[in-house]
């Protein structure tokens, strides 16, 4: 993502060397300031955002930089879509560079006709586009701790929303012919560690996509270029990137990332396994941790709500630490399993206020409090935290996490 920016800058420098330093200096100055009477910079092949926009992903420290995660700056997001360049990342052995012309998706195992498909062949098949949130199973893992994350990027940034385009997995399986007795699909990526997950066939036949497109263009390399699984409503890790193998079998393979990881340890020492489902969740992005309200007066509270089970039905907001709740306005259209933007005008009186949002989805599920979650699951389950997130607006306008 940075690569294109760099190469464009290199091109600019080259151009500057040809035209002479004066022109370059002039162009540089124009990038910093402009008036209507001055010519702007020329057109370009692949766009960049304004140099005044600085929102970036935050990358968690990792002793091995190829494995780690980067978080979407949700406080800077507007609307409901995440720019591809700011989509969260979670990789286990780096981002592979894959030439699509040599890439094949092989469907094998218990099938009538083992199939090998090129990316071009997959793109010939009937496709669908769906706007869907993708959320890491470990998103908001920070919130189990007594001291929660200080801002919404750290606490909720492993969730992003894109329009994904691809071919239904059910269609590809119809082509290959599923043999009787198949219960699981072992999906494997072409990254260095060939990460794999076992996916129940039932879900595969329901609504999983083999996606090649994201937000109007090909997938970004960090998002699985050229092919990935998109599994509506299920934890990010199962949405295998750089997809090159689908093995149909009669058993789950108990891969490392579905046993040692992505299992939820309960207080009694037992762990929940195959916890794919993401549940309803919401968070206020303004005002949120790290921000400052410059003074008393009217502000529009806003944030994002989503559920792996369908549409967001309502969002309630408290500005008095949970004593009273007010229904927020929801941005239409409310798409199932997608970010839904909520808004509520609020008068900040210059007195401390604890604010929070609570989402209800169309299944009737209501986002629980942090205490209710911890009461049932303890604090060592790592994954699938979806508790209500509170922010403390201090009298001076500073916003912090409420559990500090």
């Amino acid at each position: 993502m940075n690569g294109l920016g760099k190469s464009n800058r290199r091109k600019m420098l080259k151009l500057g060397a040809v035209l002479g330093g004066g022109v370059l200096a002039k162009q540089k100055m124009r990038a910093e300031e402009n008036t209507p009477a001055q010519l702007g910079i020329p057109l370009g092949p692949y766009g960049e955002r304004s140099p005044y926009e600085k929102a970036v992903r935050w990358t968690r420290d990792s002793k091995t930089p190829e494995t780690g995660s980067s978080f979407t700056p949700l406080a800077d997001s507007v609307g409901t879509l995440t720019p591809s360049a700011l989509h969260y990342e979670r990789h286990h052995s780096g981002i592979p560079t894959i030439n699509p012309s040599g890439h094949r998706l092989v469907i094998h195992g218990m099938v009538e006709r083992p199939l090998s498909l090129t990316v071009a062949e997959i793109r010939r098949l009937p496709s669908v586009s769906r706007t869907l949130v993708l959320e890491c199973g470990g998103n908001s893992g920070s919130e189990w701790a007594p001291k929660t994350a200080p801002d919404v990027q750290h606490s909720h940034g492993l969730a992003s929303c894109s329009e994904w385009t691809g071919v239904p997995l059910a269609l590809l399986f119809q082509e290959a012919g599923v043999k009787p007795g198949v219960s699981f699909v072992i999906a494997e990526g072409a990254d260095a560690c060939r990460m794999e997950r076992s996916i129940p066939l039932k879900k595969a036949m329901d609504n999983i996509l083999v996606a090649y497109g994201q937000n109007g263009e090909a997938l970004r390399p960090a998002q699985g270029y050229p092919l990935r699984l998109i599994i509506p409503g299920w934890e990010g890790n199962a949405n295998v990137k750089w997809l090159h193998s689908l093995r149909l079998t009669d058993q789950a393979y108990m891969a490392r990332d579905e046993t040692a990881k992505y299992t939820d340890l309960m207080p009694d020492g037992k762990a929940r396994i195959f916890t794919f489902q993401m549940e309803a969740k919401s968070v206020i992005t303004f005002p949120s941790g790290g921000q400052l309200l410059p003074g008393a007066g009217l502000y529009e509270l806003t944030g994002l709500a989503w559920s792996g089970r369908g549409k967001i039905e309502r969002v309630d907001i408290t500005t008095d630490g949970g004593r009273t709740w007010v229904k927020a306005q929801l941005q239409e259209p409310r798409l199932p399993i997608a970010f839904t933007r909520f808004r509520l005008p609020w008068r900040f009186e210059g007195r401390e206020a604890v604010i929070a949002s609570r989402a209800t989805d169309e299944s009737g599920y209501v986002q629980p409090t942090r205490d209710a979650l911890i009461e049932v699951r303890g604090t060592n389950s790592i994954y699938h935290y979806n508790g209500i997130k509170s922010w403390r607006v201090q009298a001076n306008g500073n916003v912090t996490n409420a559990e500090a």
């Binding site: 119809q174 012919g177 020492g269």
Partner: protein, 180 residues
Amino acid sequence: MRKLSAVLLLSAVIMPAQSSKYGVGQPATPEQIRALGLSIAPDGTGLPAGSGTVAEGRDIFVAKCARCHGEKAQGDIGPVLVGGRGTLNTAKPLKTVGSYWPYATTVWDYIHRAMPFDQPGSLKPAEVYALVAYILNLNDIIGSNQTMDAKSLPKVKMPNRDGFIADPRPDVGNRAKTKQ
């Protein structure tokens, strides 16, 4: 785990016989499928020929694994691989191959596909059997003179084999509590 198996069985889908509708793509050749590499099921499906001993595993571990996992597998850049038994229901659970992983076949599959971290896929099957034998022995799961191969590995019963339960959610956040 018995309850879990029942749940997994229920998820099997009965598919009618189908024929290809679009005819897009090429038949996948056995070579192509072989080239994808191995995936190992908990019943041992996929395990290749070869074998390895605890002693062989110790030598390979020192040469190829200790720089990240520590001389005694105590963890360093890479995670700790030993200990933690009896901690899963405490305030500070230590999840290791010995205390947490339910299947020995997973250890084989993961080492073979993903380790060493910077040279994944470089280990030969016999080396992987030996490493698994060594790590299982460090965790007192197999004796120091045992050999691991396609027959013996799936028979190893991991200490936390019965430590997993099916997903009971929604467990928190019900409709009744919140109607206003």
